[in-house]
């Protein structure tokens, strides 16, 4: 069952990204190195959906290990729409009404970008509220399963099912269930527009932010410009942590236990090197090499440990803002249109775009994308973000 789901219409069914395991489905995480890998169990989030009566429609394509911008570097080929634009397989499927919702792993902002470009809603929940059990792991300290849906009502419904403590995930928060109801009334909210991030986006994107600001003001929301001076540092720190952790996590793909083994080897070292060299794409290799470097002798304390320090400082910085603001508004991506490009440029491209998405991954706070823009909220105040998105949904309609 290696086929991805693209256009079936199964109404209430849920699509699952190829970086999340579903028992019985070959799970490749978009990579040749996992060819033929049959997971022995389903991810906790998938299991909960199935128990609650939702059908799994199938897997949706991702770029190798979800490391790219929008699924452009999958082993099976880039996932583009008819006009050659990249919008992310899951988000397009949800936008087209093929499924009720989709589960994706937010590793470096890909599903947020996809939602912004496809005009659907995606929530990266607070770190630790949805179990990561069953996620093909890359950067465990900040990756998180999130939900793509067409409406906030669907989003709340699906989140209620998948969120809540899981003994099998040691970073899972203790709360057994989340209601995603109540929260703050939008008319009483204060929203800060992050100037460092908005200023870095294209004119078109900035105009869209401005439109949303007007809509929010119309809803009675107080909107002000705010500054997150560490935004740039947070992006570097997250990419660094991501490289290091991914390097470590994908080291298990070595041609011994499962997945791809090179036919060409004379000894164990060649088996390792050839299987990995043939099985992984250039972007993954670049990530691995950078990660290997920042963890290697002499660099740990100047690089990885520094990234951990920035994580703490950036957390403090946004925490301070959340004392005065209920949400921070910024773009989810820098442009409004993306097309396939050379893989040699991939690391730089993702690094550049992750400026807009890194803070939630680095610090664990929730982020929602709706109406083509992004809101970040304080930890465990996902409901307030949903309220905001719902209000905008109404405003748009």
């Amino acid at each position: 069952m290696g086929q991805y789901v693209t256009e079936i219409n199964v109404g209430g069914a849920i699509a699952v990204d190829d970086t999340i395991q579903v028992k019985g489905y070959e799970t490749k995480a978009g990579s040749r190195i996992l060819e033929g890998f049959k997971p022995l169990f389903s991810a906790e989030a998938v299991e909960r959906l199935e128990k609650a009566g939702y059908a799994i429609a199938g897997k949706t394509a991702v770029g190798e290990f979800g490391l790219d911008l929008l699924g452009e570097f999958a082993h099976s080929g880039a996932y583009c729409n008819a006009s050659g634009e990249l919008r992310g397989a899951a988000a397009e499927l949800v936008a087209a009404g093929g499924v009720k919702g989709a589960l994706s792993v937010d590793l470096n902002g890909a599903p947020r970008r996809a939602a912004a470009l496809s005009g659907v809603t995606f929530l990266k929940p607070t770190y630790g509220t949805v179990s990561r059990y069953g996620v093909i792991p890359c950067a465990c300290s900040g990756e998180q399963i999130g939900v793509t849906a067409r409406s906030v009502a669907d989003m709340r419904e699906l989140l209620r099912v998948i969120a809540g403590h899981d003994d099998k995930d040691g970073t899972s928060l203790p709360e057994t269930a989340y209601e995603y109801n109540g929260g703050k009334a939008v008319s009483e909210m204060r929203v800060g527009v992050v100037k460092e991030l908005t200023g870095a986006a294209s004119a078109e994107t900035q105009a869209r932010i401005q439109e949303r600001v007007e809509t929010l003001r119309g809803l009675g929301v107080t909107v002000e410009e705010v500054s997150v001076p560490l935004a740039d540092a947070a992006r570097t720190a997250w990419n660094l942590a991501l490289c290091a952790e991914t390097c470590n996590n994908v080291s298990r793909y070595d041609g011994v236990k499962f997945g791809y083994r090179s036919p060409d080897y004379r000894n164990i070292d060649e088996l390792y090197v050839n299987s990995r060299t043939e099985g992984l794409n250039f972007l993954t290799k670049a990530v691995i090499l950078y990660g290997s470097d920042v963890l290697s002798k002499g660099r740990y304390f100047t690089c990885y440990d520094k990234a951990l320090k920035i994580r703490r400082l950036a957390s403090e910085q946004v925490k301070a803002l959340f004392k005065n603001y209920d949400a921070l508004l910024c773009p989810a991506c820098g442009k409004t249109e993306y097309r396939p490009y050379d893989i040699k440029d991939a690391f730089g491209a993702v690094f550049a775009e992750s400026l807009f998405t890194a803070i939630p991954n680095l610090t664990g706070v929730p982020a929602i994308v709706c109406g083509g823009v992004q809101f970040m909220g304080d930890a465990l105040r996902d409901t307030d973000l949903l309220n905001l998105a719902e209000a905008l949904e109404g405003g748009d309609a």
Binding site: L271, R311, R312
Partner: protein, 92 residues
Amino acid sequence: MEITRETARYVAKLAKLEIADEDMESVCQGLGSILSYMDDINATVGADAGSVTGGDCPTRPDTVTPSMNRLMLLDNAPEHSDETLIVPRVVE
């Protein structure tokens, strides 16, 4: 920041990867650029900033649950016998 090919080859060896000569240039560049960003950050973040975050690790009781059927392990493996995975002979 300058990253030499030697450094790139060293980390590739650690990561069991081979980098083609024509890819070397862009690997070194990418690595250099991320490290130069790091330099900017080092200027911002003092050495005294703590990296320690809190959180108490949840633990589990010392109970045994059944292991998986061996066939499920072997089934996924590229090369195996009835009992074990097989790799080329490892020289001690």
